[in-house]
Amino acid sequence: MVHKKVVVKICVGTACFVQGGADLLLYEDFLDPDLLSMCEIEGSSCIGRCKLDDFEGKAPFVEIDGTVFGQMTPKRLIQLIREAVNAGNK
């Protein structure tokens, strides 16, 4: 059975990059290879959320299957990708 891959966009805008986004770019080091094979990870220029005061959380931002999450850390990214992959499997 072929699963649709989870699309992950890591913001590499200046504000995100300096506030932890750079750590997220090391995803090949901290993501489980199985999980890595289930998603398509790409960079994105500023997605503009850092300029909105009312948005949940702060930089760095990551978009997973169209939903934007703030205050991303490698640990949280693993968890969110796993959730998205599991949701896709059901």
Binding site: I10, V12, G13, T14, A15, F17, V18, Q19, G21, A22, L25, I41, E42, G43, S44, S45, C46, C50, K51, K58, A59
Partner: protein
Amino acid sequence: MNDIFIDVDYHQMYKSGQKIGGDVFLQSKHARSNQIVCTLSDGLGSGVKANVLANLTAHMAHKLSFSPMHITKSAKIIMNTLPVCSERKISYSTFTIADIRCDNPHEITAQLIEYDNPPVLHFCGSVQRTIGVKRINLDREGAYKEEVVRQSSLALDMGDRLIMFTDGVTQSGMGKTFPLGWRHTGVAKYISDLIEHNPDISSRELSAAIIRKAVTFDAFSAKDDITCAVVYVRRPRRTLVVTGPPFTRDNDELLMQKVRDFDGKKIISGGTTAQIISRLTGKKVSVDLSSWSVGVPPVSKMDGIDLVTEGMLTLAKVATALEQKIPVNTMGNDAVRRFVSLMLDSDQVSFIVGTKINEAHQDPNIPVEIGIRRTIVGRIRNALEQQFLKETVLEYL
């Protein structure tokens, strides 16, 4: 901006085993008077002593050539000032000064003053031209030998080159590959062949090629300090750097037109700026996650643009790299390396700086200092003009 560019660069290798050299090359440019002065000096011996002699000579010759004083007087002052070598009991170093003036694009003149260096070569394309030389006897008091300064003046055209070198080049391979070294005629023949095969060879590449050849004749262990400098008159290579969104949205279209119509290499520095251009041209920006390093966000790709980078962090690193003259080959494979390479490979750099403030950069919680765009672009311009003799223009939008 001028339609003519005078490309000056040099290459140098110290005597094998020496960490400091006795050959010194200086160049400087007077922006207002369109004057370029290049000075090459070779001090007696090698190592620290030679370096002191050559540095003194080169700096004095350099400064004096900007003064209205007659050259014979300057040369006497230089020789009277040099310290005396404890072993050889003489004070001695050679020099070549090229004073190039470009009053209008059709009239470039060069004044050459040479003292005991191998004669300067003048090439028009791959053809060597003879230089009419006037010999001036210095008649200095306390001279231990006849001191003759060679003075010449010539006109330079598009595609002309002046090549100056120290005796390390002409004497390379002496007693090994050749009984009397590579010699002046050998060097001239080699240069002519090189230019014939690669008519647009830059000063940097040509001087490096000559040095490499000379070191090869010395069996890869230089017997003397080897230095070669090239002055090349050619059409300028241009690069456009666009950074920051325009202050008002109405100017987005204008920015796009300026980028589209520019004749030369194009760099966009700034994610939002790239998005504006992308929106208006319909060309997609894609981030290349393979090329980044600590402190430098990844490079992006866009059709028709040579380099797309993040803005402030990359620019700040580029400014530092240019100011400190960090060699390109020691940098990581990131945006800064590509940015600096493009800058160094061009002669005229135009900056279009958008003045809109990015609110996200004003957050006091951001752990690194994000500078002000105008200041950083100012630093880059300064470094390019002062240290690399590039021409720059700046435009705010």
